[in-house]
Symmetry: C2
Subunit: 277 residues, 2 copies
């Protein structure tokens, strides 16, 4: 058992998805596509008498993280620092769950494989209702395409071979639990149509155009998001909405060119990883 361990988990913006619930949380998940970000969450775990979770210096209730510690049978203090806001479509809760799994496995010498740790984090996130596909995407990195739903032993993944710069602005949050807990029939039909189109032509341009179409068809587009996407399109850029948040992301300098003051980052080339010893 070492004193502590730290993992970095990239943020993940989903462009479109379909929801695939199942009684088995390793089988449940989403299909869809997104982009992992060089902005992410750094998670440190150290042994402690009781489970305590903090995010950016504040103690927080974070059910997926508590679920991960319980599944691994360990008790630790989890300290997370995030470059991304919580609840705005960046997969921060999934990142905290996955980072906790990787770091706790190292600290407590649990002896699990990477797939096992991804599975633990995916199940924890599904059971908490905070996400369906972020964890497996964040474990992979790049621009992940989730061909099948579920944890690694169930889901197949692919990726778009491109590493553009990414800009994003956030106007506010949307509740993943509320949307996933409601009727997802329309959303899922739109997500499956978008996935078929992307698999046919796995390019950045196709990903953005299908993401835009999905936001409209799934009736998730808000006025502020729609206006910002239009502003980017008006200056010749390409943008879409992050699922699920009032967040707009663009490739290259689309949002800057349209007069916004976005955060700037890159597609992250790697999945979640322990920091080098």
């Amino acid at each position: 058992m070492s004193d502590d361990a730290t993992a970095f988990v990239p943020g993940h913006i989903t462009g479109f998805f379909s929801a695939h619930p199942d009684d088995d949380p390793a089988v449940a998940g989403s299909r869809g596509a997104g982009v992992t970000l060089s902005h992410g969450v750094t998670v440190t775990v150290e042994p402690a008498a009781e489970a305590v979770v903090s995010l950016d210096g504040e103690t927080v209730e974070m059910e997926p993280v508590v679920n991960v510690l319980q599944a691994l049978g360990v008790t630790g203090a989890v300290t997370a620092e995030s470059e991304l806001p919580l609840g705005a479509g960046f997969g921060v809760s999934g990142a905290m769950a996955l980072g906790t799994a990787l770091a706790a496995n190292a600290v407590f010498s649990c002896g699990h494989s990477e797939n096992e740790l991804v599975t633990v984090a995916h199940q924890a996130e599904v059971e908490a209702g905070t996400g369906l596909g972020d964890v497996v995407a964040q474990a992979r990195g790049g621009m992940p395409i989730r061909i099948d739903p579920g944890a690694p032993s169930h889901g197949r993944m692919d990726g778009i071979p491109a590493r553009p710069h990414i800009e994003y602005v956030t106007f506010g949050g949307l509740s993943t639990a509320d949307i996933l807990g409601g009727d997802t029939t329309t959303l899922t039909a739109a997500g499956e149509t978008a996935l078929d189109a992307l698999v046919e032509k796995p390019t950045v341009e196709r990903f953005l155009s299908e993401s835009r179409q999905f936001a409209r068809d799934a009736t998730l587009l808000t006025d502020r998001v729609e206006a910002a996407i239009e502003d980017v399109r008006d200056v010749g850029g390409d943008a879409a909405m992050a699922m699920l948040g009032e967040t707009v992301f663009a490739v290259g300098t689309g949002l800057s060119d349209a007069g916004y003051d976005p955060k700037q980052c890159r597609v992250h080339p790697a999945g979640a990883t322990l920091q080098s010893e």
Copy 2:
């Protein structure tokens, strides 16, 4: 079509493996485990009237690279710069094949997915007889465990969740084609035993101990490699032989501590990736 594109592919040292030939080069491959390195190969592709391949400034014959260009239906000049020696167990030929696939897809707007490009490079390497498992490992990064042989649609992978520093020394090359072209029965039995043991406990220590046992059981250990591994063990370090080369790799500072003058790098956290635009 852009002017050129560049990809970085990490080196890959296999610790142990079993050979699984098949008439279909996407199904053929190896099972086993290894470590990807932050030292690797940078591959640039640009359009050209005929296929030309260079490695560190010298024009070379490189069948896997030519196979990749043919499979993609493009003609280009491939320029590779390698931090690692060719033919000494670092997966340089696999890196050149995979880097060519990623970069050529970007230059010529071929529109393939990442899995498709990994498949093209894996098939090219298998058909050339220069490797069986490096390409899929290099596409994944980290410390890859190849659970099943073959390209992404056939092979399942997992990983050891650890990122130690790595040292290595090379005394010379071994011919992958000669060894894979001979009787691999003993080697494959030893590799499957090692894989079962690693899957049971996917840690760095188990990986190294099983790799050492494999080198002995597969009768691939040379005197110089055996002596260097013993030297590292004598100072309390952990080392094994790279398959297939007269190369010793150690975690941490094992080779330095034993008085060698090794190259030093890290486990690479990412798979092969295009350089950011």
